[in-house]
């Protein structure tokens, strides 16, 4: 099979998986909860019953023969569209971006779910990317060192780090970091930007569409906005605010990736071509970093695909501990007020990201390792 055939097959599978996933989520949220729960995002208290009924009809939840809204609420026979019919209507609305109004406390009914989600999502993305970055720059060297110093002190340290990372509750680690930093070292470790930085958000050199003196939001990601607007105090504040949450998020995956790199590195170091490289008189560093690492890093590439999924999920806990203004933090609020649409949107967006990343990783893997056939 050629590469493009493989990619085409995977794309088809991807669409299938996403459709199946949407059915699952639809069934969980709409099939198991009464139809009025999801309707809450589309109706306002001020609407009269006929307006509510027409909204329900437009969404494909109530049938056209339904006499009144109260009949619909009491689930009168012939009033509620069967589930598969509801699914079609739901999917149409979902793909059109019609996710209703948000029910999140404080901003309930004033903004659309779609807008609330995507204005918060950059923060989560920033956290997840920073977590992945820390995982890679700490985890991979840790794995290499523990493989080259097998059963010596660096190996033991790396083993403790990885076992500790597997075993430590993330919320607890985050809380301990906060206690240490805030109570004793008195550094701003709460994950919130310091007070003067909100003022410093105003752009210095402004790109199109941003008026000088206004708050610069090109990407929504604070770190990136700080660079783009050449606002370095803001940039620095975002970096400082990011360190502890990102470390908390990465602590588990650092251990995982270092163990993977360690075992694959040890496997590679036993092979003949490494002995050859050494017998040619190459320096040990060259042997390890030029010859061995290239092959040993491959399994870590596969895992880094799963890493995204893991970090996006783990972000929920970290965001809550650090009061991070991302989607994970809002998802708990959404769960508390039964904002079904927000949760559905969150699940679907992360699922799309995970599925696409997995595909990309597999393709990159095949490019990196010519031995892989489809």
């Amino acid at each position: 099979m050629r590469l493009y055939e493989y990619v085409a097959r995977r794309l088809l599978l991807m669409i299938f998986v996403l459709l199946a996933l949407s059915v699952l989520i639809f069934y969980l949220t709409r099939g198991l909860l009464p139809p009025t729960t999801a309707l809450a995002a589309y109706i306002t208290p001020r609407m009269d019953d006929s307006a509510k009924l027409s909204v329900a009809r437009a969404l494909g939840v109530a049938t056209t023969s339904c006499p009144s809204y109260s009949a619909f609420v009491s689930l009168q026979g012939g009033c509620v569209v069967p589930l598969w019919g509801q699914y079609v209507g739901w999917l149409e609305n979902a793909l059109a971006g019609n996710w209703g109004l948000t029910l999140l406390p404080g901003i309930s009914g004033t903004d659309t779910t779609w807008h609330v989600f995507f204005s918060r999502f950059p923060y989560t993305a920033e956290l997840a990317i920073a977590g992945a970055f820390l995982t890679i720059i700490i985890g991979i060297p840790l794995g290499i060192v523990s493989a080259t110093h097998n059963n010596k002190l660096p190996d033991h340290i790396s083993r403790m780090v990885s076992l500790g990372g597997y075993s430590i509750p993330q919320f607890w680690f985050g809380a301990v970091l906060q206690i240490l930093f805030v109570l004793y070292i008195r550094v701003n470790g709460s994950g919130l930007l310091s007070a003067n930085s909100t003022v410093a958000t105003r752009c210095v050199i402004c790109f199109s569409g941003v008026v000088p003196g206004e708050i610069a939001r090109y990407s929504g990601i604070p770190l990136l906005d700080g660079i783009l607007s050449l606002n370095f105090p803001y940039f620095w504040d975002s970096v400082v605010a990011l360190i502890l949450p990102a470390l908390t998020l990465a602590i588990t995956s650092i251990g995982a990736i270092s163990r993977i790199v360690r075992s694959s590195m040890m496997e590679v170091l036993r092979q003949d071509y490494i002995t050859l490289a050494r017998s040619k008189g190459l320096k040990e560093n060259v042997v390890i970093y030029r010859h061995a690492l290239r092959n040993a890093i491959l399994p870590a590439v596969t895992v880094s695909g799963l890493l995204v999924a893991y970090l996006l999920g783990g972000a929920v806990i970290v965001e809550i501990v650090f009061s991070w203004p991302g989607v994970g933090n809002a998802s708990l609020a959404a769960a508390n007020v039964l904002d079904i649409n927000f949760l559905e949107l969150y699940v679907l967006v992360t699922a799309v990201i995970i599925v696409v990343t997995n595909l990309a990783v597999d393709v990159i893997y095949a490019k990196l390792d010519p031995r892989i056939r489809y």
């Binding site: 509750p169 919320f171 206690i179 992360t350």
Partner: protein
């Protein structure tokens, strides 16, 4: 397995499993870290079993009035030492919580709750994994494809998120929590068992069994599964800790049936609002989770060393 320890291969041939057990004990003695893992995990299970005898199991619902008053009294100088000593530090070695209960007692009551959920989730996941994973690996073809695609769907959602949705939909209770975590956990076991069966079913003894006229069910669940289940059991041991982490994370963010429930994440949850005034509320329950899950991880690591001959060198 036997070839990799030449110095014992003679006795191993003669005594078979007994020699393996002896070898495992030898490894245990040689490796203090694994010994620590065994000690911690056995101790936590014992503590969980004995917990109703140590602490009155209904005491979590009682909120001593004087302690509540001490906690919520604005006149009391709100300093860490004062609040910690609300009931006297000799009576309450780990301090009291915001409901005026002894934190140590609550932690002892919470350990069986968490361990029970963890064992339920892992055991169910192993059973599901052995059944469907074995089926997928052994049958191949469309059965394999169908089972794999279903796991794909579940693996495409971050576990915590799926669990949150499930708890919201099904309601907040301990069984729901178990089901929610199990829903995110089983696909890994199906994948793991499938890959084990795939490599095991090509071995000559399977051919021999088939030639002897053994049925598929007997070959798969009687022989192949028995020979390939060790990695699954190792994963199960490692996962006890991870399940406790996930469950406590979910209860920590507030997805519990009751804020009073003694459950390690739930105990830590009431600590987050007092994080800078009463840090022990989050420190000790979290530390308990860390120790228990570290114990099972060390145990799983040790078992893997014993059963995986490639790592013995």
């Amino acid at each position: 397995m036997k070839a990799s320890k030449p110095e014992e291969s003679q006795s191993s041939d003669r005594y078979g499993r007994r020699a393996d057990l002896k070898y495992a004990l030898h490894l245990l003695r040689r490796n203090p870290i694994v010994l620590a893992g065994v000690t911690i995990s056995v101790a936590s299970v014992l503590l969980a079993l004995l917990s109703p005898l140590i602490v009155n199991p209904t005491s979590w619902d009682q909120q001593p009035l004087n302690l509540r008053l001490c906690w919520n009294n604005p006149i009391v100088n709100w300093q860490i030492a004062n609040v910690f000593n609300c009931g006297g530090s000799a009576v309450y070695p780990l301090g009291t919580d915001s409901y005026g209960r002894s934190l140590l007692q609550m932690i002892i009551l919470a350990i069986p709750v968490d361990l029970e959920i963890a064992f339920e989730v892992v055991a169910s996941a192993v059973v599901i994994g052995v059944f469907f994973g074995g089926l997928a690996g052994y049958k191949g073809g469309i059965v394999d494809e169908a089972i794999l695609r279903v796991t794909d769907v579940f693996l495409a959602i971050p576990g915590i998120l799926l669990a949150i949705v499930l708890i919201v939909v099904l309601g907040r209770s301990l069984p729901t929590l178990t089901i929610a975590v199990l829903t995110t956990w089983w696909p890994y076991y199906v994948r793991l068992m499938r890959s084990q069966v795939l490599s095991e079913k090509e071995k000559p003894y399977v051919e021999r069994l088939r030639a002897m006229g053994a049925g598929d069910v007997r070959i798969l669940y009687g022989h192949i599964v028995q020979n390939s289940i060790y990695p699954v059991l190792v994963q199960a041991t490692l996962d006890i800790g991870s399940v406790i982490l996930t469950v406590s994370a979910l209860t920590f963010i507030g997805l519990t049936p009751s804020p009073l429930l003694p459950e390690l994440g739930n105990l830590a949850n009431q600590g987050i609002q007092y994080i800078f005034t009463a840090p022990w509320l989050i420190l000790f329950p979290g530390l308990t989770i860390l120790i228990i899950s570290l114990g099972f991880n060390l145990l799983g690591d040790g078992i893997r060393d014993v059963f995986d001959p490639r790592l013995r060198r």
